[in-house]
Subunit: 237 residues, 2 copies
């Protein structure tokens, strides 16, 4: 394996261990190079890759920081529901339900835990322009989020991914989504004020942390009467 990849792996380990935190700048490139006993150019390459993956954030003149999963990044990377007219806003989130339970088959497969393992389930209703548009059903493994509580969810200031990062050291870095059309069923129909059977978008998301392990399963039911799910078949991976 190339040297810069070793450096990158070490930096990832340092981020995961909590050695680097979002508030404080990392050591500068010269110091990092000395610590790893490589040239500055090699450190730069490792840091550049992590920056391109939105894991680190470089700021000329200030330093390099662990990226925070704040509202702006959440919108940029994870929230992909826009108004049909092009409007784009951060949703208001209402917590509908929070409970502990045992993983079913789908959850155990998605989260890579055994069937019956303790999980937390969260139901959220997302409003855009004061209209309910998305019903989220979230499942996370209790082993990754010990003692996650309703109070934490209610009192968090930022996104739920920021809560994962700050309170549990779990850094979500990417997600796979599968999208399909389906007739809406209860209870989503009621939350979205739709008649049962109306066509809705169903999005199944598996979010992964920096090591690639699954962290969260989220099934979103989206009323696409006035909103779209947007994706980019980008040339910039």
């Amino acid at each position: 394996m190339a040297l810069y990849q070793e450096v990158k792996k070490q930096l990832i380990a340092d981020i995961q261990s909590g050695r680097f935190v979002p508030e404080k700048a990392l050591p500068n490139e010269t110091d990092l190079a000395a610590r790893f006993a490589v040239s500055v150019g090699t450190v730069r390459r490792a840091v550049e890759e992590l920056a391109s993956e939105h894991i680190l954030l470089r700021q000329q003149g200030r330093g390099t920081f662990v990226a925070r999963l704040d509202q702006h990044r959440f919108m940029f990377q994870f929230f992909k529901i826009d108004g049909r007219n092009g409007s784009r806003e951060f949703p208001r989130v209402d917590l509908l339900a929070f409970s502990a339970g045992k993983a079913n088959v789908a959850e155990s497969l998605a989260l890579d835990v055994s069937i019956g393992a303790k999980v937390f389930r969260i139901d959220n209703l997302l409003y855009l322009q004061e209209q309910p548009v998305v019903h989220d059903h979230i499942t996370v493994a209790a082993s990754r989020f010990p003692q996650l509580s309703e109070e934490q969810l209610l009192q968090r200031s930022g996104t739920i991914y920021e809560l994962y990062q700050n309170a549990f050291g779990v850094v979500v870095v990417n997600a796979d989504e599968r999208v399909r059309a389906a007739p809406v069923a209860e209870p989503s129909a009621a939350w979205l004020t739709l008649g049962v059977g109306a066509p809705v978008l169903q999005v199944e998301r598996i979010a992964r942390c920096i090591t690639g392990r699954p962290v969260e399963l989220r099934v979103s039911v989206v009323n696409t009467a006035a909103h779209d799910y947007v994706a980019s078949r980008s040339n910039k991976p």
Copy 2:
């Protein structure tokens, strides 16, 4: 603007002008550096970016090539319908209709041509595992694809994007997609052997060329009974 960006721009111009073609390797890095009067490292940076955007393809020991929009790349970058069971295959494509016409409002907005400008319209039916799954309705501007003919479409060997590239020098490099759920209408319902009103996925894609200008508008109607539209909220743009 940084030097490597100037080099990149020049390389893009060379690709567009047809100076570089997919079959023949570009000049090697040393020669390119000499031509642009910059260091090899600067050329490398420009070429690396183009490679990361899938516009160029570097092969150690062989050389650097303009990327072909072949089946593999089409599947990788643009075709995002997978079987629910995880199967992933290149679709069989049936041409249903080909015609010339005048751009309507939606087409003129999407393709950045004036209303009433000459366009070609293509209807395709895509089969996966011998079942009709996607009904594509494609619109392109005649100004970008002069004398596009039904024969060319029928006789092409590869993907339609490869035809754009080889026959018209139009290189599609990315696409924006908006996805929504809707009840299926005719004629899609018949092609997909669905009852009118069944929930289907509707995908509106605007494909863009290397300069960012829109090239193709494609509305896809997808039967997601056994297939999903997949997307990645990637850390690797």
